[in-house]
Amino acid sequence: MAAVMPAPAASRLLMSGNEAVARAVWESGTRVAAGYPGTPATEMLEQLSTYPDLYTEWSVNEKVSLEVAIGASMMGSRAFSAMKHVGLNVASDALMTFTLTGAEGGLVIAVADDVGMSSSQNEQDSRFWGRFAHVPVLEPADSQEAYDMTRYAYELSEEYQVPVILRLTSRICHVKGLVTVGERVEHMPKGFSKNAERWVMVPGHAKRRIPLMLQREQELKRLSDKTPLNVLEPGTDRRVAFVTSGPAYMHVREAFPDAPVLKLGLSYPWPMEKVSQLAEMADTLVVVEEVEPLLETELKAAGFAAHGKDFLPRIGELAPEVVKPAVERLLRKEAAPAPEQAAALPPLFPRPPTLCASCPHMGVYYTLSQLKNLTISGDIGCYTLGAGHPWNSLDSTICMGASMGIALGMDKGRGETDKNKRILAVIGDSTFMHMGMQGLLDITWNRGNVTILLLDNGTVGMTGGQNTPANGRDIHGQGAPRIDFRKLIEALGVKPERIHEVDPYQLPVLFKTVRDETKIDDVSVIITNRPCVLIEEFKPFKPYVVQEDKCTGCGNCVEVGCPAIHVTRRDRVVKPSGKEVDLAFTRIDSVACTGCGLCVQPCAPEAIVHFAPAGQVINIQPA
């Protein structure tokens, strides 16, 4: 994306939380911003890359992204690092030491929790990192606050020399609300001041930093009781008083418009004096927090009779219609009448996400589903969808890059029953560079017997097609050095004759390569080389059609899993042998089909052909 003129100051814009954060980061004079794409955090960096006067990058993983930001902060520049919740697990090693050295130029870490798990492998509460790392956590409740608090976060970071966590949730990141914006103020870097005792965290130095860190935390505690970000709204309905933060505040306010509420903007450290004042206002004190009972436990430990997860859900998002009846029940009043609804609907079919029509991973999973005796270790990305129908081709998925180590563990840990199984690991290009390389090194070094499928589609597909070192473009789409996987993999210890590159649309070649390599007791890497349909390298071919008169209903094309293939009619016939078979006659949606040719190959009667005038059959395989 090329830099465009940002909207002028005082504009009132409909912005998502992510867009609002990006705007505020830019206005704060930030000079370096780095991140790794991940839902729901992706758009922060994506947006920032369109602003002028700052350096932005997609990093290979979140730890590197935080390290880049830390380096800039050391030089006195304002810096930013954005990631999703699981990304902070990856970056935590850098965070836990950086909390000791502290920030020089303001450093803000925006971490977006996928509450409700729209596309993540777990649900976790990033507020814990505030307590764990002794750093302040800011929690906006809507887009305007996301903007305001980001700007404030830089002031806070510099005043206390502390990295600041901006905790967002999906419901902040992706909700659009109105935001009044300001203008960019330049912040010139002060320059690096050499100070080994501060910047070189060898044990002797680090020990001296810990008391300073704890003292800083005490000061932040005092700030938490003073700051207008933690606001006590007295209210008139004194049946119950609430402590809440982030989007949960909006739900509480909507469900109980007149109750006393302590809204935490600076949600770590906790403002205990303000909590005491609030507790005076009602007999019942309720903590409404999304995910974990973090504050509730803390308040109970401090002697408050607080309620929370004893009656509110601990999993997934909260909403007014969740909070209200639960609190009413707690108050032992009549349960709130549920809003009148249309009669309960019958359960409908699910509509799980699936691979795009023509996705290069389709052929890989189709192939794997046709092979026997495999145990397959999977990883994070679009290709995780291979675990679904019709392929059912993944046996594990834990976290980003884990497919490598897990495959080695499966290999080394197998017992008698798995002796003859072939262990495969499937990983994407971006994931391989994020965390997979180290795992592969471990496999080669420890002489694992694993076949690795490196699905190189030249992008981070799942999050919408961001650039990676494998497609030779940077965050702006500008040309950049392009990684050569073959050489890289060879350098990691795989024998050159065990590295293959195949076209995932050529099913026979793919099938043969996978079958042959799994038979060899050594590490093999099979690289597939077709682009994701979302990126510019992808060029659609001519769509195909099913010739109705030739279709025998074998249903093989349906097993490929392409969303462009539809069943027009099902039938059950008895073969001369007496065997009953189900038939599925199909049609191809010519608008959705991109002509990859995958479904053509298993079609028994060769009924799938390029659309052509009557009598003329063209059957071109994509080059």
């Binding site: 992706h174 989007p247 899993g561 392409c562 293939i565």
Partner: protein, 202 residues
């Protein structure tokens, strides 16, 4: 919250649900409302279920519409409209494109697509107005106009005039030239007419 209008737009990833809601929110902003808009989607680019919640009024707190409180449902796909129909207030209206988009899990024979989703909605007491937005768009020369057809359909169910919404559409397409603007005007009018015609009880 009194005086808050709740519009639920639903469909599947890639249908333009988000864009349609975006344009509706621009119209609400032009009318001076506070606006919140959120999508509820898992991996929406991969053909999954998408709903977009739009709330506007003097001051909007929670961005999510609670079940049973939507004022209008704009459904881009028949079964999806059925899936979300319980979000409507009793007596509120659903405007539905009766196109059927069948996912791979149904094609594989693992699940069943309802025989008559629109009929089911009606039999459950939902005031359902359905029309074929895809055919209308195709007849106007471009499938991509389906989005504007849907906006035309909802135009008379909003607490402000249809012209405000049309203005926002025109503004969005202005830089693409007069031809595109004209096509969208036509699509808007066609959608509006289709909804009006379908809502007259036979």
């Amino acid at each position: 919250m009194p005086n808050t209008t709740n519009i639920l737009v639903c469909g599947i990833g890639g249908q333009g649900v988000m864009t349609a809601t975006e344009i509706l929110s621009e119209a609400a902003i032009a009318e001076g409302h506070d606006v919140k808009k959120t999508e509820v989607a898992g991996m929406s680019q991969r053909g999954g279920v998408v709903t977009s919640h739009l709330r506007f009024g003097a001051k909007v707190l929670s961005p999510q519409i609670a079940p049973g409180t939507a004022d209008v449902l704009l459904g881009f796909e028949a079964a999806e409209a059925l899936r979300w129909a319980h979000y409507l207030k009793p007596g509120a209206m659903a405007l539905v494109n009766d196109a059927r988009l069948v996912p791979p899990v149904v094609e594989l024979g693992l699940f069943k697509y309802p025989d008559d989703p629109i009929g089911e909605m009606k039999s459950r007491g939902v005031r359902t107005v359905s029309f074929d937005a895809a055919t209308i768009a195709r007849d106007l020369g471009d499938l991509r106009l389906g989005n504007t057809v849907m906006l035309g359909a909802i135009a008379d169910q909003l607490p402000f005039s249809a012209e405000v919404l049309l203005d926002c559409i025109v503004k969005r397409f202005a830089r693409k030239g007069e031809k595109v603007v004209e096509a969208n005007r036509k699509a808007f009018a066609a959608g509006r007419a289709a909804a009006a015609k379908a809502s007259v009880p036979a």
